[in-house]
Amino acid sequence: MAFYLASGCMGCEMAVVDSLHRIFDGFESFEIVWSVPMFTSSRYDELDSIPDGHIDVTIIEGGVGTGEVKDIVTKLRKKSKKIIALGTCAVFGGVPALAAFHTVDEITGEVFSKTRPEKQVVHDGKYILKLPEMEIQKPLDEVVGVDHYLPGCPPKPEVIVDLFSNLKNLKEKWIISGKSVCSFCPRSPVNSGETQASASDVERVVSESEENACLLYEGVLCSGFITIGDCGADCLKIDVPCRGCYGPLPDVEDAGGKMIDVLSIVLTDEAAEALLSEYREFGKIFYIYRRSLLKGGEP
């Protein structure tokens, strides 16, 4: 096996650690041949000595956000029989993919202001240190082929336990239940038999909503209906609307479009006006956790 933290936050690998006591036995039948930066202390150059197709399963967390990551995942693809994209960043681009709404220059300018670092520095007169070239974050499968997708921000430890116990006979491309967050939501109108309501105002947080009423019908921007529900609707159980962290269901072609489809039915004209006047732009609300297809490539 191999593990690699690409342009992610390490949350998904921590979720693997969280479930480690339950998957420890499974690890006995596997050897971790290369792993950065968790589990072993492998180096980049050690990857070159692994023969092509030698690694059975490579688990990659995070999308592709720098040239360095791109090189490593391309190498890993050659060396591995199977690649599993772990977590929403690897599967959909994740929150960092919001970078697609800006250019690389804008982002580095915002972060480093005028003191932009040199692309290459010579340390102690002999060590050449190169900064990896930043790119707009992409999901893994825009760079290399991915065999299995396991979204989540991070995926629940139980799901990871399932993944490791089935590691040798994975068949489905998507390692998900295929149900939306609404299917698990205690507020789902299906449970209460409630018919469609018209929201007259728009909010992003739950204020004094009726207990167990569908948040969307109350005018709260909840993206549960397009979101993969393997989280078990945990947020909804504590009155937090779904932000879509597991990413859209595989048959959702354009998450932003789908949100608008439903909002234009649920919201009244006044609520739609409120939405338009309260938010300066929609892109970063509707495409959070998932990359917009329209923006693909150069901005």
Binding site: G257, D261, S264
Partner: protein, 128 residues
Amino acid sequence: MTEIVGFACKWCAYRAIDLAGRLKLKYPESIKIIRVPCSGRVDAETVMKAFRLGFDGVFIAGCPENECHYISGNSIAKRRVKLLKKLLHSLNIEPARLEFVEISSTDAVKFADFAAEFHRRIEGLTRR
């Protein structure tokens, strides 16, 4: 060449477009019409797809206010286009490339006028 796709509801707008043809009214050949059961059924996702496929402009033509065959389809479409324009803006697509228009089934002239105006408007924008 400019390519525009228009979704026309079969009860009003499409009939007006049909009538425009029978009256031999001219409209720009950049416009391709797709007949739909109701303007309210044109998904925002479909519109996004049209832009992704490279269409320069998209319009949804429905019934005049309060004359929808399905009660509220046209008002849904109208609202959807309004919201969608803002999303398009975030995606670096000029909101002017998308429009909702109400055309009654006998108003062929309105369609021809709208088509010419919309084509001119899209031509005036920088190419996608």
